[in-house]
Symmetry: C2
Subunit: 194 residues, 2 copies
């Protein structure tokens, strides 16, 4: 059975995916986690900020691992990108379009108002961009191009979530995935041509 | 002097850019607009939802016009894209990284919880994608490619805002802009080659 700390993290993550950071109260969290209010401050003495930072960090790490898994399984970088956007589109469809990435929503909600959470979201995005950059570099793509590609992939994924959720249709995410594949193909052609 | 209705819209837009939808209260709006609470319900009988929908619609239209202006002034579609992302990056830097596009944040906050606002954000994104699609088609890019490009541009812009605000650095937005230019160049090469 899941411990109280994990139940609190999971419940917060789920609430963020539907209501965002400002739309989620600690009362909702403890109710959803079936945990007494005291336990929240026991595990997260800093209250909502500390809990949110933990959710950002743990789910950011989970997504990075998911990306690595998909990249490991794919035949080449272009297929990895297609598979990743397809997986994201399927998750959206199967979860009634709740946010697959609460981090992107929180990032925009807190960027101007909460410095420690802003930095937390930046660390996660940077870890994703670094992971994708390494992958592309490993395929022989020069560092600058690899970094540009990786940054664009993360931005396109986050923006794809915005469009797909607004439309309640995963198609924009697949469309964006096709453009990202085009970019990777373009970069790989330069490598192969060498 | 700005009328009360316009003052309410402007104040709400400014508050959304810093605090998002859930982080903004009507009390803050009337205080920032120097308007009595009664005036808010006079102009927006539906309260926060009606006011938010008006902000989404009016600022969505302003951004569409801005895009058209930049596109009109540019020598070609690739330069238009570069100019647009450069303009967005400059706005971010000059406004202390508050959200240039409250619509993207609201879209993610309300997608699972407020059907009429979700549809409002979808209409705005669709109007942007349609405007960019027409531009690209006007340059001889086939409709399917034009639509894919336009969708990717809007997603990349929204995702670029996420990364740049999280980092308090406009560089990710410029990086994404370079990738978008590569995509437009790629599409235009096919046109020129015909």
């Amino acid at each position: 059975m899941m411990g109280t700390r994990d139940r609190l993290l999971t419940a917060t993550n789920e609430l963020f995916r539907r209501h965002g950071y400002n739309g989620t109260s600690l009362k909702q969290v403890t109710a959803a986690a079936a945990a007494p209010t005291g336990s929240l401050y026991h595990f997260f003495p800093g209250g909502k900020d500390e809990l949110t930072l933990a959710v950002i960090t743990t789910s950011g790490e989970t997504y990075r691992q998911l990306f690595e898994l998909i990249a490991d399984a794919a035949a080449d970088p272009a297929n990895a990108v297609t598979d990743f956007f397809e997986a994201a589109a399927t998750v959206l469809e199967e979860t009634d379009y709740i946010d697959p990435c609460p981090i992107g929503t929180i990032a925009r909600e807190v960027a101007s108002t909460n410095e420690s959470l802003r930095q937390g979201t930046d660390r996660v995005f940077t870890s994703w961009i670094d992971a994708a950059t390494s992958r592309f570099e490993g395929q022989g793509i020069p560092r600058d191009t690899a970094q540009q590609l990786a940054t664009t992939l993360v931005a396109a994924l986050e923006g794809g979530f915005v469009l797909a959720r607004a439309k309640r249709d995963a198609e924009p995410l697949r469309t964006v995935g096709r453009s990202m594949r085009d970019l990777v193909d373009q970069a790989m052609e330069t490598v192969t041509a060498k």
